[in-house]
Amino acid sequence: MTRSETDQANARLVPVLLIADGRLVKTTRFRNPVYLGDPINAVRIFNAKAVDEITILDISATPAGRGPDFDLIAAICEEAFMPVSYGGGITNREHAARLLRSGADKVIINSALHERVELVHEVADLFGSQAVCASIDVRRSPFGKRHVVSRSARRKQTASPEAWARRLVEAGAGEIMLQDVDRDGTMAGYDHDLLKSVASAVGVPLVACGGARDLDDLVRAVAEDGVSAAAAGALFVFYGPHRAVLINPPSQDEFTARLRAAQPAIV
């Protein structure tokens, strides 16, 4: 699939904030959450940095078997002077409706779709496909074969990332978020082969997440792999070899300028 240069120049930079039991954390390979601070405070810093969108993922909801923490999300949305996407523990359309009423602009659904993929359609039907992002977590086997996982990477699924992405788009997802479990928090660089392969499998925007190393890596994911949004956690909240906590994403203007300078993907 080809995209116009305008689409490329409109690509988004998306900080991903992980929440566990109301606290802001950062994981490595979906494990070992490190406490970073207060999520509301982080959102205020992202306001000052003028990021165009933030994603909040509650990583404690599904393992605890509970739904979203609506009060916390409402408090975050009140503070966020930018669109907010939320994921974590969404298992039915009432969850989605309440989140959107609480000020979220988009819901991100993952584990529940492995039980009932129709949930995408039910939410999209009520609120439009732009309000539904379906998320896919990917791991590799010891032999390097990539497969989809769910429930905080505890459960292995049979579908390939590409096939599952296509299935989710058929079900009505307006956007796909691809999370690379093996690279989460490592800052080892995105898996560009994976991004390219999934981006070319679907016609909706793809959000890349997991392993982002630096600005070059983010630009490459858009300019060469064809993703519509470059998301990152560790890259935007850690600084230096000792991973000091410093919320400092590149500015959207800087990112857009780099994208305009990059050669459009040769298709």
């Binding site: 988004r12 003028a50 990021v51 009140e78 732009q130």
Partner: protein, 204 residues
Amino acid sequence: MTLPSVVIVDYGVGNLRSIQKMAEHVGMRADISGDHAVVAGAARLILPGVGHFGRAVERFRAAGLEEPLKEAVIARGRPLLGLCVGAQMLLSWGEEGEAEGLALIPGRVVRLQESANLKVPNVGWREVVPLRDHDLFERHAKLRFYFMHSYRLEPEFQDDVVATSRHGQDFAAVIGRGAITGVQFHPEKSHLFGVDLFQRFART
């Protein structure tokens, strides 16, 4: 020194807290109210709106707010800022629900053009280009705002178009006449650009 104040008109649609937070952030006293006397006596007003045009105007009228709003805006000349469907409500008629608007600015609200390359709703950050001087914008600034809409503003007179954006064709992103302004986008979700707009609104 008293703070500049604004009344965010509450007629039971949408989440008004993010608008209030933005107004407070730029130093305004922001009250969310559907009280007729409060609306009629406001120093300045924000008319919010999300969702369906026809249902929004119906609820607004059912709440008895048309007269108090017009008293503030027409009789007393107070500044009014309409946001998204609140901006659409300033016009005379809307295709969505085929309903009469408030007719503060002559014109209609019509569906965005849709095709394989043109998605509706139009969602995301878009450039906004001012066509003339206006209290709420820097004339030559490079502006970006967050949009989420399926219908567009179509004022009858070109003079009422303050700024445009693009979705296949140019459309009115901002309409204005005197102290009445409507913005199709969401300034409360448009960080620095929204803050700048609200700061200017506080000075009107």
